[in-house]
């Protein structure tokens, strides 16, 4: 639409200035939570062992991969699904304990609360993986980005499968299904290491980036589906 018509329409539909706007807004001002503040507030509701477990697992991955061998990165990437499992356990908490309806009735809607908590946990995990990538790259003799991609791919794959499973399988069984999926991805990592012990990064590069792209897309799609389902629950 051309700007001239838009301006003319704006003017044609203009209303005289409201007289009591300022006093009304002053009297009914309410505090809005910003995104960062919301995430920080909700991070407080994440259970302590989620943070402690993630940090312990991170330390364990580093300790296990500290052999400075060429396969170091494979070892580490085979364990990152367990980090995703911790995130999935946190994600499905209200559903597991049958608290969805109660949380839906709270002032802070379940969708915003879940997204904020997952953003907090996810950012924490990405920070840990971001710290691990240069160290492992140094030990394994690979590039930092390749190492980062090989750590992220199993994490995102487990997260995507975990979200799909937690939507389909209710209650405690959902967590068990996520755990099974995480261990299967771990096993896949171990098998990959056995299959290609002497990894040549230059050859594996395109496969690695394609796998990362696919898992990233799958995780994003699953996240959108899960958020939509949370909204549907609200309107039901």
């Amino acid at each position: 639409m051309d700007r001239k018509l838009k301006t003319a329409l704006d003017a044609a539909f203009a209303a005289p200035p409201p007289e009591r706007k300022a006093s009304f807004l002053r009297a009914h001002r309410r505090r809005e939570l910003g995104t960062v503040e919301l995430i920080l507030t909700q991070a407080g509701y994440v259970r302590w062992w989620t943070w402690a477990g993630s940090a312990a697992l991170f330390a364990f991955i580093l300790a296990l991969a500290s052999g400075r061998e060429p396969g170091t990165v494979w070892t580490a990437s085979a364990l990152t699904p367990l980090l995703a499992l911790i995130a999935a356990a946190e994600w499905g908490r209200s559903r597991r304990y049958g608290m969805e309806e109660l949380e839906l009735a709270c002032r802070m809607p379940l969708r915003a609360a879940l997204l904020s908590r997952m953003a907090a946990v996810g950012l924490f995990h990405f920070a840990l993986l971001g710290l691990a990538a240069p160290v492992l790259a140094l030990w394994g003799g690979a590039g930092v980005f390749e190492t980062g991609a090989s750590l992220l791919t199993p994490y995102l794959l487990t997260a995507a499968v975990g979200m799909e499973l937690s939507r389909r399988v209710r209650g405690q069984w959902g967590l068990l299904a996520c755990a099974a999926a995480a261990f299967m991805v771990c096993a896949l990592g171990v098998l990959s290491r056995r299959a290609r012990r002497n990894l040549i990064w230059a050859e594996s590069g395109p496969v690695l980036w394609t796998a990362l792209g696919l898992t990233l897309a799958a995780a994003a799609l699953e996240l959108i589906k899960t958020i939509k389902e949370t909204e549907e629950l609200r309107w039901n």
Partner: protein
């Protein structure tokens, strides 16, 4: 997720003024709309806020419409755009449109209500909404170019 109440106040007020043609009544209805929204915790931070606000405002305006007859809008209450001839011609053409089309034009073009919200508000598909809006704009453009 946070709603800019100040900005939405202006828009809801403009919508109410368009429906009621009385600045005091429009402001009363605008404030009543916000009071009802503020008293309902259920709809906060859900992305449905704008639709909720317009639904309340529309219902309140309809209630007011049933209660009293409106006086026609005095000429001096409409401000002019940069091009007076365009403004006059546009005003004439807007009068020829149906009230529903005028309302859609106000909501989408002037108040910039998202298409998704309008679809839910009117209960139509995106395709139908875009087609209707394109038709109105094409009509206005043709008439203004011909004038």
């Amino acid at each position: 997720m946070a709603l800019d109440i100040e900005e939405q106040y202006e828009r809801i007020y403009r919508y109410c003024y368009f429906r009621l043609r009385d600045r005091h009544l429009a402001e009363d209805v605008t404030q009543e709309t916000f009071l009802r929204w503020l008293s309902s915790d259920t709809y906060r931070d859900t992305g449905q806020t704008i639709r909720y606000l317009y639904t309340i405002a529309r219902n309140l305006c309809a209630d007011e419409g049933r209660r009293q007859d409106f006086e026609p809008l005095p000429e001096d209450m409409m401000s002019d755009s940069g091009d007076p001839s365009l403004s006059l011609a546009l005003r004439d053409e807007l009068e020829r449109l149906s009230p529903e089309d005028r309302e859609l034009l106000l909501l989408r073009v002037v108040n910039e209500v998202p298409v998704g919200v309008l679809c839910k508000l009117y209960g139509v598909s995106r395709f139908a909404l875009y087609r209707r809006l394109r038709g109105i704009l094409r009509y206005l453009r043709e008439r203004l170019e011909g004038a």
